[in-house]
C-alpha cells in the first residue's frame, strides 16, 4: 500500500513536471497576448512554443513506464452518494421549464437583445457545456426532451444497427451549419423555429425507437454532453457518483464503431470550424466569394463538410501509421477507436479556450436580460476582460493537450504488451496533436471579426 502511495506521489510529481514544461510557454504566451497590439513577440513564436510544450510533454510521459501506476492513476476514484429523488425531480423541472421559457421568450420577446438567444448561446452552448467537462455530465438528468419523451407512448421499433451513430454525426454537423449561416445566433424568431424543429424530430425519434435507444444512439446533443462528460471528474456509476481524476474516466469510454469515432472528430471539428469562420482570413475569403456572386450558405456547408472530411481522414491516416510504428496487427479501425477518447480532452480544452471569454463578458447581460425577458433594456452590460485574459485560453488549449497525451499514453499501455511499442504507437498522434495545438493557438490569436 505504501509502495502504491510512493508511486502515486511519483506520478503526481511527474504530472507537475509536465506542467512545469508547459509553463514557460504560458508565460511567453501571456507576454504576447498582452502586447499583441504592439507586437513584440510574433505569433509564430507562440505557436512554436505551444507545439514544443506539447512535444515535450509526450517525451516526459515516456518516463512513466510502470503499468500498475498508469492504471492506478486512471483507476483512482472516491465514491459519493448520487442525487436523491428530490434533486432529480428538480433537475427535470428546471430542464422542461427552461425549454418552455426559451420557446416563449424567443417567440414573443423583443427581437433585439432577446434573453432567450443569449441564454441558448451564452448560457447553454458555452456555459452549460463547460460544466459537463469541468464538473460532470448532468444532461441525462436535465435533458427536457428526455423528460417529455418519457410522457409519450413508444413504438419500440428496433433501431437499424447499420445506421450506427451516423445520424448523430450528420445532425451535429447540420446544427453547426445552421448556427453559422442562419440568423439564429441573434434573431429570436428563427431560433424558436429551430428549437421547435429539433423538439419535433427528437420526440418523433424517441417515440419510434424508444427514448433510451434514441438518446444513446441518434440524438446529437446527448452524445455531445456524454462525450464531454467523460473528461469530467464527477462520473455517474451504478450506485451513485464517483470522483475521478480529470480524464481518468476517458479510459472507460467505449467508442464502439467508426461512426462513433466520426462523432468524436466532428465534435473537435465543430469548435474549430466555429473559430475558423470568425477569423479575418475567412472574412476575406467569404468577401471574395460573395463578390463573385456565389451564395455563402453552400460555401459554408462545403467548408464544414470538407474540413470534417479532412479531420476524419487525417485521424484515420494517423491510426494507420500508428499500426505501423507500433508494430501491431490490431486493425486500423481498432486503433482509431481506442485512441479516440484522448481527442475529447483536446476538444474540451479548445471549447474552453474558444468560449470562456465570450461567456464571461456576456454573463452580466444574461442576468440583466433574464430579469426583464419581455422588454428591451436600454443598455446591455458587457464585462470588459483584461488583455491578459487571452492567457487563460492558451492555458486551456495546452492543458487539454497535456491531458490528451496522458490519456493516449495510458491507452497505448493498455493496448500493447511492449513499453517501447506503446511509445512508438503514439508517434503519429503526437505529430497531429502538435499540429493541432499550433492551429488552435493561431485561431485563438486571431482578432475576432464579424464575417458575412
Amino acid at each position: 500500500m505504501s509502495r502504491l502511495r510512493t508511486r502515486l506521489a511519483g506520478g503526481v510529481a511527474g504530472l507537475l513536471a509536465l506542467l512545469a514544461v508547459a509553463d514557460p510557454a504560458l508565460a511567453h504566451g501571456g507576454a504576447v497576448a498582452s502586447s499583441r497590439r504592439t507586437v513584440t513577440v510574433p505569433t509564430w513564436l507562440v505557436l512554436m512554443t505551444g507545439g514544443a510544450a506539447v512535444g515535450a510533454s509526450f517525451l516526459l510521459a515516456t518516463f512513466v513506464t510502470d503499468r500498475a501506476m498508469v492504471r492506478a492513476v486512471d483507476g483512482w476514484r472516491r465514491l459519493a452518494p448520487g442525487p436523491g429523488r428530490l434533486a432529480r425531480g428538480a433537475a427535470k423541472a428546471v430542464g422542461v421549464l427552461g425549454l418552455v421559457a426559451v420557446l416563449a421568450v424567443a417567440a414573443v420577446g423583443p427581437t433585439e437583445n432577446n434573453a432567450a438567444v443569449l441564454f441558448v448561446w451564452v448560457g447553454w452552448w458555452a456555459g452549460y457545456t463547460m460544466t459537463t467537462y469541468l464538473v460532470g455530465n448532468s444532461w441525462p438528468g436535465v435533458n427536457p426532451w428526455r423528460t417529455l419523451a418519457g410522457l409519450l407512448p413508444t413504438l419500440d421499433e428496433s433501431y437499424p444497427d447499420r445506421l450506427g451513430s451516423w445520424p448523430a454525426v450528420l445532425a451535429l454537423l447540420a446544427l453547426i451549419w445552421v448556427e453559422t449561416v442562419s440568423p439564429i445566433t441573434d434573431d429570436p424568431r428563427p431560433l424558436a423555429a429551430v428549437v421547435v424543429a429539433y423538439t419535433l424530430a427528437t420526440l418523433a425519434g424517441a417515440t419510434v425507437y424508444g427514448a433510451d435507444t434514441w438518446f444513446r444512439r441518434a440524438d446529437p446533443m446527448a452524445r455531445v454532453f456524454r462525450y464531454y462528460g467523460a473528461v469530467a471528474p464527477v462520473q455517474r456509476t451504478g450506485d451513485g457518483l464517483s470522483l475521478r481524476l480529470p480524464g481518468g474516466a476517458l479510459s472507460e469510454l467505449r467508442v464502439g464503431d467508426d461512426s462513433e469515432v466520426a462523432f468524436v472528430v466532428a465534435l473537435l471539428w465543430a469548435t474549430t470550424f466555429d473559430g475558423f469562420v470568425s477569423t479575418g482570413v475567412w472574412a476575406d475569403i467569404a468577401g471574395t466569394v460573395r463578390a463573385a456572386g456565389v451564395p455563402l450558405a453552400p460555401v459554408y456547408l462545403a467548408v464544414l463538410a470538407g474540413g470534417f472530411g479532412l479531420f476524419l481522414g487525417g485521424y484515420r491516416l494517423s491510426s494507420r501509421v500508428a499500426r505501423r510504428t507500433g508494430d501491431t496487427y490490431l486493425s486500423t479501425a481498432t486503433v482509431a477507436r481506442r485512441f479516440a477518447p484522448s481527442l475529447l480532452a483536446i476538444a474540451a480544452g479548445y471549447h474552453l479556450a474558444h468560449y470562456l471569454s465570450f461567456l464571461l463578458s456576456l454573463a452580466p447581460a444574461i442576468v440583466v436580460l433574464a430579469a426583464t425577458p419581455l422588454s428591451t433594456p436600454p443598455q446591455v452590460p458587457v464585462l470588459p476582460l483584461p488583455v491578459w485574459f487571452d492567457l487563460v485560453g492558451m492555458t486551456a488549449i495546452l492543458l487539454g493537450h497535456v491531458l490528451a497525451i496522458w490519456v493516449a499514453h495510458a491507452t497505448a499501455y493498455d493496448l500493447f504488451p511492449g513499453r517501447l511499442q506503446a511509445v512508438r504507437s503514439q508517434y503519429p498522434f503526437i505529430a497531429v496533436m502538435v499540429f493541432y495545438t499550433m492551429t488552435s493557438l493561431w485561431l485563438l490569436a486571431q482578432p475576432e471579426v464579424t464575417t458575412p
Binding site: H28, L45, R67, R71, S251, Y329, T332, T334
Partner: protein
C-alpha cells in the same frame, strides 16, 4: 525500486484492475484478457506469432512473450516464463536508451526556445 520489482508487482495490481475493468469497459487487448472483438487484421504475407492462450496475433516473438507474461502470468510454463523475463530485460535496456534520448531532446528543445526568445 528496480524495473524487475515493478514487473513482479504488476500482477496483483492488474488483476484488481481487471475485476473492475470487466464491468467498466477497457479490454486490455494487448496485455490482458479481454474480448477479442475481431479487432485484429494481420497481413497475409507476414509472420504471425499467435498466443497459445487467447489467440491474439503478434508481429514479433518478443512481443508475444511480453503479452504472455502480462496477460497470462498465472498459467505460464517454465520456458514461457523465461522467455518473458528475457524479453522484459531486453526491453528495459531499450527503454532506458530511449529515455536518455528523450531527456536530451527535451533539454535541447528548451534551450533552442530560450535562444529564440533571446534573439527575437
Amino acid at each position: 525500486m528496480s524495473e524487475r520489482d515493478a514487473a513482479a508487482e504488476d500482477v496483483p495490481g492488474r488483476s484488481e484492475q481487471e475485476a473492475t475493468a470487466a464491468t467498466a469497459g477497457p479490454t486490455h487487448v494487448g496485455t490482458g484478457p479481454g474480448p477479442l472483438e475481431g479487432g485484429f487484421d494481420p497481413p497475409a504475407s507476414a509472420d504471425v506469432f499467435e498466443c497459445g492462450y487467447c489467440g491474439r496475433p503478434f508481429a514479433e516473438e518478443d512481443l508475444l512473450a511480453l503479452h504472455r507474461g502480462h496477460a497470462h502470468s498465472d498459467q505460464l510454463s517454465e520456458p514461457e516464463q523465461a522467455a518473458f523475463e528475457a524479453a522484459y530485460e531486453t526491453e528495459t535496456g531499450e527503454m532506458r536508451r530511449f529515455q536518455l534520448k528523450a531527456a536530451g531532446l527535451v533539454v535541447l528543445l528548451y534551450f533552442l526556445l530560450l535562444m529564440v526568445y533571446a534573439l527575437v
